[in-house]
Structure formats: C-alpha cells, structure tokens
Symmetry: C2
Subunit: 317 residues, 2 copies
C-alpha cells in the first residue's frame, strides 16, 4: 500500500504544472456573497485550457512517466474532463492517449479529446464500466493504464489548493465537488498542512452518493448513480481517496440535482461564467449550509465549465 | 493635442495592472481552428474579475490620479463594462465612483457596479447621451470626469497586447472588437512596435458602424447605432483613438448582429465560455474573412463575457 500524499508531493508537482499552465483566478463576488451571507470567493478552475481542474493532474502524471511507459501509450476512462486532461498532457509530451468513454458521453467533451489528438473509444453504460474495460485493453496492448485517482493526479491537482492559500491565506472554509476525489484530497492535504483550522467540505449529488456514504460509514459502499452531473457520477468508491478523506474531511454534504441546476443559473447570472453541474456543486452546498458559513471567508471550487449547449438550454428554461 | 501613446507608456502601466490582476490566458482551440481553417487562439479577457478587458485601464488610470482628483471622486458613463472597470479600480484605491448608464442598461452590469460600491445614475437613451450629461455633473460637483478613451485607459488595456506577444511571439494577425477603441489601439501600438508585420484588424457591427466609417473616410462620421452589442454601441467617434487607428490598423471589418449571435453560440459550444456579443465580434470577423486568414496564427480578442441570462436565452433559441 502506498503512503498517503503530503504537501511536499504537491510542491514537487508545481513545476510540472506551471511548465504548461498559469495559476487560475480566485475572485470575490458581491452578488453571491449577499446570497450566502458570507465572503464568497470562486476558484476558477473552469478557466483552465480544457475547462476543468484535472489538467493539472494529467500534466504531473505524464511528466513523471518513464520512457517505456510513454512508448506504450496511455489508456484511461473518463466521462470527459479527466480524459481531456490526459489528452492535453499526452499531447504536450508527444505520447499517444486512448480514452474509453461511456456510450452517450458529452459530445463536446468527446470532440475536445479528439481535437487534442486522443483516440476515443465508446464502451459501457457508465464510467466504472468503461474504466474496468479499458484497464484490460491497456494490459493486452502493453500500454499504461491511468486510474482516476492515481497519486500523481492528486499531487498535480493539489496545486490549486496552494494557489488558494497564496491568494487568500485567511480562508476559513473550502467547499469542493467530489467525483473520484482527487480534487478534494489535494485541497485538503494542502489546507490542513498549512492551517488545520480550515474547514474542508466535500459535495456530491444525492443522486450519486457513493463517496459520501462510504466516507460516512467508513467502508466501501456502492450505490445508485443517476445524477445529471457527469463530473460527480461515481458508482464505486476509491480506496486511496477515501483514506485521505477519512483523515482530512470536516464534512461531506449531499445536494439534489435540482440544486445543482439552480447553482448553474446563479453562476451565469451573478458571475457570467458557464459552469457544469459538478462545478456548481460547491455553490449549491454553500447555499444549503449557509447557516454554518455566515460571515466566514469561503472558497467555492468551481471545478469545471464543460456544459453542453443542450444541457444549458434545459437548465435555463 | 496630446502625443500619441507608445509601447513605453504601456510598459509603464504594467505594474499598476499587475498589482491587482494576473495575465489572462491565451488558449488555442482545435474546434474553432477547424472552422476558420487557421490556428485560432483566444485571448480570454472574459476571465477578468469584472468580466472584461477594461479593468486593466481603470486600474492604471486610478493609480495615476493625484490626491485632489481622488478626493472629488470619479464620474464616468458606461454601457456596463467600462463602468465596472472604474468601479473596481476606484474601490481598490478607496475613491468614490459615480457612473451614468443609459436607461435600460444591462441589469447584471448595473448590479455588478453597485456591488463594487459605485453609485449608478440612469440618464438618456444611449451611451453618448449619458456621457455628455455626466461630464457636466462632474464639473458641477468638482469631480474628475473619465472619458472612455482617456490615455491612461489605453495604456492600461494595452497590457493584454504585451501578454499576447509574450505567449505567442509568432502571431500573424490579431482581431479586436472596437467600441470606443481603447482595446484595439493598445493592442496595435504594442504589436506594431514589436513586429510591424502583425496584421491588426478591428471589428464593429454593421448596426453601429461609426468608428469603422470614420476610419475608412478619414473624418469624423456619426451614424445610426442599433446594435445588440452594447460593447460596440458607439454613435460618435473619438479623435484620439481614430488617430491611432489611422496610423496602425490594417483593416476594419463590419459584421452583422446575427453573426455576433452565431459567434456567441460557437464559443459556448466549442470553448464552453460565456461571451457577450461584443466579445464574440472577433470570431464573427474571423469567420467572415477566413479566406485571408488561412493557416495563419490568429489571435481573437474575447473582450468581455458579461451576457445577461435573458440575452443568452434569446441567442441560443
């Protein structure tokens, strides 16, 4: 079993990330602050080149591969954002990427992966099915399988946590959407290492609560997965991110899919940012637990912005 | 008459801008590159804290005010983005800002100005009417009137031009939306000073062509102003930006409002960015003149993202 990542690992990932990316903005918004009755800052990971935080992890992972691993190519599964991250990083290092997506995956995300030079294969009904299949394909073809919570990914995405602490050292609470858990784990490791008083709160959808139930019960729980938020659509928990969350998370809340959609609308109106349902989960959670946040300095991680125009139309009508 | 701004003025503005802002991203998009058949990079000024490039100018202007000017407060007129810029900068320096907007101005932009602590006054039918009125108010009250093309604004916004050259030194063409002209002038001064071979192309709407007609005819031309793009809605040309455009602009194209709306949709679908009509003008122009751009390295300035949800609904339906 691997040891748990530390803030040192995240510092070591920084140069790999900043070789290709700049820090993303952390902006305070008066309209949202009024709504939540707290000082609300958004961490704009939706401003990344592939529209989501995961690109930080992909760049760190590929930077750490040895030549043999690069030669066989990378194989992974994704509902979209992780795949774009791996495609982006693979292109930066001239490595071939093959990405399995569930049948019916977000077309814009698929086109983006292909535009970045990745081969996209459709397989299975959901992320976990596609993932188990592509890991077998990688073995057959002698390639490198990349799982969604591989540690170099956690180290890479943790760099946005460092940026939050650099920009707002007095932050009191950080709320992070949880899919596989790399984002919330990277953030929690950084925040708790620098100031253990910072509250770290994870969010999933009530329609896909597997990580939340597993965290709450302290054991792996599989559950139904029917959320509209593909970035939160996990059916099976991950041992390594569960271990980190068990150690560091202060709370883990569930929000209804309808609250995610309302949060997408609020972010359009108050911040003029297009945010996908998963990315808006942090705002939905803040509104749900506003009594606990009153007058605090709160950072909401806007983890991604890759909302299809079709979904946008459904949500704003 | 003041001398024309130089790249040195823009370098002198840099520290005033970076005291409060980070560089914005320049990203290449494969989907848009396929559409235009050129290498398309977007300069994401829609990622600024107030959603538009103008905040760079406001910060430089306020940084250069003497204590007397600060004491009397700032008075300006705006359709929205310039006003948010002045409000943001005034707050950063603890100066009072009073902003006149046309009756019926974008509510989201008005709320944003108020959220930044500015007093907003509604006056007249359009930007130019509000501007002439508030300049009188400023005189009566002993405050400082800020015009939309005051030179410190051009110096400040020119810093995004420097960022473009730093990120993509081999850029061959930059397309910039034109309202009052500060953005295109700052960009042109930088680009032509570093590499005179870079083509600089301005864009206005066919429904508000006053700056384009004045540039083309070499004299001040007033014209009708009916565009949906409030960021391009100029009825009266400005002498100082016209002089700079006369010297530096290679071309100045007009696009239909319907093409602006199509460009907003394309940016949503291909880049998952919310962009206002004026901000999308550079993409609309690139599609219109794609024969001239084929295989070139092209930067499209996405000048702002402050689209109201009501307009968004109209545009995507």
């Amino acid at each position: 079993m691997s040891t748990m990542p530390t803030i040192h690992d995240i510092y070591r990932a920084r140069p790999n990330v900043y070789r290709h990316l700049r820090p993303t903005p952390l902006y305070q918004y008066s309209g949202l602050s009024d709504l939540v009755q707290a000082e609300i800052h958004l961490k704009h990971e939706n401003h990344q080149p592939v529209g989501a935080f995961k690109v930080r992890g992909g760049l760190n992972l590929v930077a750490n591969l040895n030549p043999d691993h690069k030669k066989g190519g990378l194989f992974t599964a994704s509902t979209g954002n992780h795949g774009q991250s791996i495609a982006f990083a693979a292109r930066a290092y001239n490595v071939k990427a093959t990405i399995a997506v569930p049948v019916g995956a977000n077309q814009g995300k698929v086109a983006a992966m292909q535009g970045l030079g990745a081969e996209v294969l459709f397989h299975g009904e959901d992320f976990d099915t596609a993932r188990q299949w592509i890991s077998e394909v990688a073995k057959e073809k002698g390639g490198t399988f990349v799982g969604p919570t591989d540690e170099p990914l956690i180290h890479g995405v943790g760099t946005y946590g460092l940026e939050i602490l650099e920009d707002l050292p007095d932050v009191e609470c950080i709320i992070v959407p949880v899919g596989a858990g790399s984002g919330v784990c990277g953030t929690a490791i950084v925040a708790k290492s620098i100031n253990p008083a910072i509250k770290i709160i994870g969010v999933q959808s009530t329609q896909a609560p597997t990580q939340q139930l597993s965290w709450q019960q302290g054991r792996a729980v599989e559950s139904s997965m029917k959320t509209v938020a593909e970035g939160l659509a996990t059916r099976i928990p991950f041992a390594n991110t569960q271990a980190i969350m068990a150690k560091y998370l202060d709370d883990f809340v569930l929000v209804e899919d309808t609250a995610l959609e309302e949060a997408v609308r609020l972010l359009l109106t108050h911040c003029h940012n297009l945010v996908e349902e998963a990315g808006a989960a942090s705002l939905a959670a803040a509104l749900q637990i506003k009594d606990q946040l009153r007058d605090k300095k709160v950072v909401l991680v806007i983890s991604g912005g890759n909302l299809s125009t079709e979904r946008l139309v459904e949500i704003i009508q």
